[in-house]
């Protein structure tokens, strides 16, 4: 049975979605339990997979249908995909755990749709992480995208209008990827990632115009999907107007998985040698990433809507990762991979905290943080852990990822990238200290009337949001404390693909 673990990770949420959609017709309240059980099963399988991979040299394959790789579809599990898989399933578990409290407030009566769609999305995301077949990845990407379009559009108010642009941009991104894969297929005749790499090396195709254009199409496609700055147009509106239950799941995972796939394409399909030949690309990509970080941070600073602010922080964080992977040295790639894991939890923590805040105050304006330390000390403390990690305060995980990224940038001589990283940390510090100031020093009302401190009502976020929020903030600290082990694990992968 342990051989079948990769399929279990995918099948658990898939069957969960089917059962939830059926049961939800008659008994919508059971959907939550079904979703939690299937995600817990997926998480368990992912952890088991991680343990199993630690015993192998470089990873192992799982042949779907029993066909050998280039003929059939293959799952490829190596230290990187196992790590990302655990992160995805864990964040999904925490985000869906908070969905019940959010849905009761926002979309009562839609549970029977929301949970199956969320589970289908997790299915797609886990599948994208595991698959070793370039075309299979497209199908899984589309199932993820379709469910996320629906989760955005289901919301009230401006959600549907912002979803239209999301659909258009998302389709352009996915279609570019599909076309890029088509170019590679035209040149090599294969669709399997490992096979593609071997054929391209054996046939010495790295100079071929088709391969180069294919690479550009795939990269740009995923830049759109991850929301890198000039192509980010869909992201802030879609994520901030989506129902909280949906954005808690999408914001941490969608962009990170796109970054992961992009990295996987660069390292495992197009080797580092191929990228080294075209040095101009790395410079362009680093420049774009630098602009993305600076622009994302600045726009975030100017926002007053909490969720919009967080969305632009996500845009800046995408710049970190998109730049980090193009540094193409050991520290840079390690930092990027570590940041994928760290940022998934950080973003999850911040979005959970924001949804808790909105649930208890009813307002999305940043002013609703006023007096938060007294009204909701626990919720705010957990939110702040995410914020401190965004700034990069040790011992949270955000510090270590930034450390490695800066180290990699210095080694690679990308000083503008170093400057952007430091600048972004400063802006993040400004943003979160402004929130702390509001929360700690300003009361809800009578802010000038110091002599008569008002009786403050305790108004914590609902337990359904607080519990996953606490767990996430603990994970952020733990991930920081145990960072040497995680880094070792990542370096095992980085060394195996030959990045120096």
């Amino acid at each position: 049975m342990s051989e079948n673990l990769p399929f279990l990770v995918i099948a658990a949420p898939l069957f969960g979605a089917l059962v939830a959609s059926l049961v939800g017709w008659a008994r919508p309240r059971y959907c939550y339990a079904i979703a939690m059980v299937s995600l817990a099963a997926g998480l368990t399988a992912a952890i088991a997979l991680l343990v199993k991979v630690s015993g192998t040299v470089s990873g192992y394959e799982y042949r779907l249908g029993g066909w050998p790789p280039p003929i059939g579809i293959q799952h490829w599990v190596d230290p990187l995909s196992a790590l990302i898989l655990v992160v995805i399933t864990a964040v999904a578990f925490l985000a869906v755990m908070s969905a019940r409290a959010n849905l009761q407030l926002e979309l009562p009566g839609k549970e029977r749709f929301v949970y199956p769609l969320m589970l289908l999305m997790v299915t797609g995301l886990s599948g994208m992480t595991l698959t070793g077949d370039a075309f299979n990845l497209y199908v899984l990407l589309e199932i993820t995208s379709l469910s996320s379009y629906a989760l955005v559009a289901i919301g009230r108010g401006r959600a549907a209008a912002s979803c239209l642009n999301y659909i258009i941009m998302g389709t352009i991104g996915a279609s570019f990827y599909l076309l890029g894969v088509g170019y590679l297929y035209l040149k090599t005749g294969s669709l399997n990632m490992i096979d593609l790499r071997q054929i391209m090396i054996a046939g010495d195709m790295h100079g071929s115009q088709t391969v180069i254009t294919g690479f550009i199409l795939i990269t740009v496609g995923f830049w759109i999907k991850m929301g890198l700055y000039p192509l980010h147009g869909w992201l802030p509106n879609a994520y901030s107007f989506a129902p909280h239950a949906a954005s808690n799941l999408m914001a941490p995972l969608m962009t990170k998985v796109s970054v992961y796939v992009s990295l996987r394409m660069m390292l495992s399909v197009f080797t580092p040698d191929f990228l080294a030949v075209h040095a101009l690309w790395a410079q362009t990509a680093l420049l774009v990433a630098t602009i993305a970080i600076i622009a994302g941070s600045l726009i975030a600073y100017s926002q007053t809507d909490v969720k919009k602010l967080l969305c632009y922080l996500v845009v800046a964080e995408v710049g970190y990762m998109a730049g980090g992977m193009w540094l193409m040295n050991r520290a840079g790639i390690t930092g990027t991979i570590y940041h994928i894991a760290a940022d998934a939890f950080m973003t999850c923590c911040l979005f959970l905290g924001a949804s808790g805040l909105i649930a208890s105050t009813g307002s999305r304006h940043i002013r609703s943080f006023r007096g938060a330390t007294r009204r909701m000390p626990w919720t705010f403390a957990a939110f702040l852990v995410g914020g401190l990690s965004m700034i990069g305060v040790p011992p949270t995980c955000g510090f270590f990822s930034k450390w490695f990224l800066i180290q990699g940038a210095i080694e690679g001589g990308a000083w503008h990238f170093v400057a952007a990283l430091i600048f972004s940390s400063l802006i993040n510090a400004l943003i979160f200290f402004r929130i702390i100031e509001l929360a700690y020093f300003k009361d809800v009302e009578h802010e000038d009337d110091v002599s008569h401190p008002p009786q403050v009502q305790r108004n914590e976020a609902p337990w359904g949001i607080r519990i996953p929020l606490f767990i996430t903030s603990v994970v952020i600290v733990l991930l920081g404390v145990f960072s040497p082990r995680v880094i070792n694990w990542i370096e095992r992968f980085v060394d195996s693909v030959g990045v120096t």
Partner: protein, 133 residues
């Protein structure tokens, strides 16, 4: 000169797909009506399907279904691969067609919802109404 012509004619499938794809891309970005944008999206995806399918063509080959397939014990060695079109692009594009239909369906549903809310499907008018809120 004739070399250039032969070159152009022998790759006509690629020129057609590029033109179609660019029409779709232009419509998706430049058109203001969302239904027109989604028509562009359909053209865009169809162009990619055309590209894939055209790579599987072999001149003079028939559809990828084995002749005399009912006779059990048909020797595999007797099959000449050049007689049958490449089945793989067909399979891949069956998937892409289904995905395209599904995306279009979801997109039209969202357009209907937006039309319910704002009573228009023109992008500038929606933005104008959003600005008034």
């Amino acid at each position: 000169m004739s070399d250039v012509l032969t070159f152009i004619i022998s790759r006509f499938n690629y020129w057609i797909y590029i033109v179609l794809m660019m029409i779709g891309l232009y419509a998706m970005i430049a058109k203001r009506n969302y239904v027109k944008k989604f028509i562009g999206m359909s053209i865009f995806q169809t162009a990619i399907i055309l590209f894939y399918v055209s790579t599987g063509v072999k001149s003079g080959a028939t559809i990828p279904i084995l002749e005399h397939g009912h006779d059990i014990g048909h020797a595999a060695a007797a099959i000449n691969p050049d007689h049958y079109a490449n089945p793989l692009p067909h399979v891949l594009m069956l998937t892409a067609i289904v995905v395209g239909v599904a995306t279009l369906g979801v997109a039209l549903a969202v357009v209907q919802k937006v039309h319910d809310q704002y009573e228009t499907i023109e992008e500038p008018e929606i933005l104008f109404k959003l600005g008034q809120e």
